[in-house]
């Protein structure tokens, strides 16, 4: 290639790049990156969730031309559930992002201080750091519809049949991933153990031991707990359920957090796992929104679900609900600021003013799929509540009425831990002059 032709090629490439740049600026979109984990040891948990999230947004893009007439650019950045890669993804996407969806408690804790500076809201539905609920301290972080402490309190409420005093003298094992996520319920459960006089036995599971939990289940055999509560993620769930079946632990005394309730972990065990329970802030079922996704995304060949039956599973539908929270935040901001494409600061306002009502859920084709809730300046979670699901040998079915978190016990703890976090990370900006409207 001659020097002249090289220069020509460079000029042409530059022109092309400029052209693409101009095009992308011209077509107004809202960039909502998702830090996915479709690979690695946690992929089995991640894939259905990411599929649900992605398909809901794609359905709105296909059916309604986006949200408020503006297309949503829902791009995934793969982390493999690795905190370092998650931080890289955050840095890579933050320039144009209107939200960050970190998808791991470890990543959330890492990016939490940065989002104050970068002024990008974190949306961590059902995960992250429980005190994030305190919007006056964590102005840029949101974890609707319930936090881990809400989840722990609802599980305890369920197993005590509404009377926490009945737990006196009982032994409750907490089988948890030895990771920031797995340790999340400990402060509240320790407080409960002291208050209601039951014995809490934390049993950690290391990342390398997820597939071989024989030592943990030998401990459970020795301790003979009245209940085992599981805070598991990814491969840990399948490992624990297999060991529980193997050691003949009574399944009706085994309860998991919402990330320990994936159909895919239970299907291989079938009838043997009958009676296992998992708390969940979404109820699986036939909903018009799922039909719409099927029509506009799956049948059009734009989904990553392998079989339409996968859309009936708890985790897929939870992914749909998660994206609904994001979209409703966008809509609230669009309406309030009277704009099409919202920016990160406007979306922060939208997420702080979420109002998920029964009427809205009905309108969205999601009636009964999740509980209504409302966020505010001081309440970034909503605390809508959850249901206990039970594995019937083939699928999860609803096994309780809507459970509500014990806010009287949790709120002071949230405030205490939020203040402690702010002090340890001083100078912590708090609301930093953000108005509360």
């Amino acid at each position: 290639m001659t020097k002249l032709s090289k220069i020509g090629a460079l000029v042409a490439a530059g022109g092309l790049a400029l052209g693409i740049g101009v095009t992308s600026v011209a077509a107004e979109t809202m960039y909502t990156p998702n830090m996915s984990y479709r690979t690695g040891p946690f992929a089995a948990t991640g894939i259905p969730l990411m599929n649900g999230q992605r398909d809901y947004v794609n359905m709105l893009n296909a059916r309604d031309g986006g949200v408020g007439g503006v297309m949503v650019d829902f791009e995934e950045c793969e982390t493999g559930y690795n905190t370092n890669k998650g931080v890289e993804c955050y840095e890579k996407t933050k320039a144009n992002a209107i939200v960050t969806q970190p998808w791991s408690t470890g990543i959330t804790l890492q990016v939490l201080p940065r989002t104050n500076v970068d002024r990008i809201p974190i949306l961590a539905p059902g995960y992250g750091f429980s005190p994030m609920s305190d919007g006056n301290t964590f102005a840029w972080a949101f974890n609707p519809p319930v936090s881990y402490w809400d989840g722990a309190s609802m599980i305890m409420n369920f197993i005590s049949d509404g009377d926490m005093n009945s737990l006196k003298g009982q032994k409750i094992a907490l089988l948890h991933l030895d990771h920031p996520f797995g340790k999340e319920p400990l402060p509240l459960l320790e407080q409960y153990a002291e208050e209601y006089d039951f014995e809490l036995v934390p049993i950690p599971v290391g990342l390398k031991e997820m597939q071989n939990q024989s030592a943990q289940w030998l401990q459970i055999r020795r301790e003979r707990p009245d209940w085992v509560v599981m805070w598991g993620w990814g491969a840990m769930n399948a490992g624990a359920l297999t060991e529980a079946v193997k050691t003949r632990f009574p399944m009706d005394k085994f309860v998991g957090v919402w990330w320990s309730g994936s159909d895919d972990d239970l299907i291989p065990l079938g009838e043997k796992a009958k009676g296992y329970k998992s708390i969940s802030w979404n109820v699986p079922g036939d909903y018009p929104v799922i039909d719409a996704i099927k029509e506009h995304v799956v049948d059009a060949g734009n989904s990553m679900v392998e079989e339409p039956a996968d859309m009936d599973k708890v985790f897929y539908q939870r992914g749909v609900v998660m994206s609904m929270f994001l979209v409703e935040g966008i809509k609230a901001a669009q309406e309030h600021f009277d704009v099409g494409a919202v920016n990160a600061e406007q979306l922060r306002w939208g997420l702080e003013n979420l109002n998920i009502t029964d009427e809205l859920l009905e309108e969205l084709g999601m009636a009964g799929m999740t509980a209504p809730f409302q966020t505010s300046c001081s309440n970034h979670t909503g605390h809508g509540g959850a249901w206990m699901l039970e594995w019937d040998g083939e699928k999860f079915v609803k096994a309780s009425d809507l459970l509500k978190p014990d806010r009287a016990s949790i709120e002071p703890l949230e405030k205490e831990k939020a203040a402690e976090y702010a002090e340890n990370n001083a100078p912590w900006p708090g609301r930093d002059g953000l108005p509360c409207e």
Binding site: G206, Q211, P268, E306
Partner: protein, 319 residues
């Protein structure tokens, strides 16, 4: 005094008072140990013949198990899926030898090690592209592996032995015997050992480096398939299986990188000792989860006294 009693005496009292539980702990430790030994064997074989620390052994376990399950999901009967998977592992061995190892002959060991990291990354990407990242169920029953449990009632208690764990132990023992027989009594096995002892001397008597490498990587693939079947039968087949390869590292430190018997003894010792330590000392005194570090501490203690590991060869280099 009470603390000393709790640490030094009480665990043994507990063992004495609940012998059935102790037997269960020992059995679980033995099963884990057999599985660690299997993974370590894959590393040892390749290191012995080529001085390459094969970082890809863990992902080979995943890849072999996924291939087997994937073939079966696509309608291939189990009896045919196993030889076909072995065929895939053979093609992989040939591919690695041709594309990765052959161009790097004569390069420093660290370059070859880095190349196996490249193989790992390739297999992760390729595996996820072909099979997806979802959990899959090992075709335990289709392979004829029994899935029931045997219950014994010694000393008025009970010991549960899963038939698939028992099968895993039997399979591992047979595999090890087959390997030892192959390495010691076949001409190809002797060639592999000769190559491990001295590359240049082995080449000078006409041993083909490329043939041996293909065979060794293929045997590592066979071991990976066996490991994938038994681990997959316990907790499903997913990319999480790759993590278990790290459990082989302390086994190799303990047993020595070049010793087949070291891998077996090291694996069994670590499996049993880490389980005993976790149950009787780790959980009561250290909050549990000691299995993540116990094996490394044990290996380090051994290395203090025997830097080459329990069964490793002591290399004296002339200065």
């Amino acid at each position: 005094m009470e603390t000393l009693y709790n640490i030094l005496i009480d665990p043994f009292v507990q063992m004495y008072e609940a012998p059935d539980f102790l037997m269960q702990v020992l059995w679980e430790g033995l099963v884990s140990g057999v599985l660690y030994a299997l993974i370590a064997l894959g590393f040892v074989l390749i290191f012995k013949s080529s001085r390459i620390f094969n970082f890809a052994q863990g992902i080979m376990v995943v890849f072999a198990a996924l291939t087997l399950v994937g073939l079966h999901e696509n309608g291939v009967p189990a009896w045919l899926a196993v030889p076909l998977t072995l065929g895939v592992m053979y093609v992989l061995a040939v591919g690695i030898e041709r594309v990765v190892l052959r161009p790097l002959v004569g390069q420093p060991d660290i370059i070859l090690f880095m190349a196996t990291i490249g193989v790992t990354l390739f297999l992760i990407g390729f595996g996820e592209f072909v099979f997806g990242g979802e959990n899959k169920v090992m075709i335990t029953e289709a392979l004829g592996i029994p899935t029931g449990a045997l219950e014994f009632n010694p000393f008025g208690g009970f010991v549960l032995i899963e038939e698939k764990d028992l099968t895993a132990v039997v399979m591992a023992v047979l595999l090890v015997f087959a390997l030892i027989t192959f390495l010691n009594y076949s001409s190809m096995g002797r060639a592999i050992r000769a190559l491990g002892d001295d590359h240049q001397a082995a080449l000078s008597v006409g041993i083909s480096l490329s043939t041996i490498w293909v065979i060794v990587w293929f045997i590592a693939g066979v071991i990976a398939l066996a490991t994938g079947i038994v681990w997959g039968a316990r907790a499903g087949v997913s990319f999480a299986l790759e993590v278990i390869a790290y459990k082989a590292l302390p086994v190799l430190m303990l047993g020595g990188l070049e010793s087949v018997s070291g891998a077996i003894v090291g694996g069994l010792a670590i499996g049993i000792l880490e389980k005993l330590f976790e149950i009787y000392w780790g959980q009561p005194f250290l909050g549990g989860n000691t299995e993540t570090w116990f094996a490394f501490i044990l290996a380090l203690i051994v290395l203090l006294f025997r830097p080459q590991g329990l069964f490793g060869e002591r290399i004296i280099e002339r200065v």
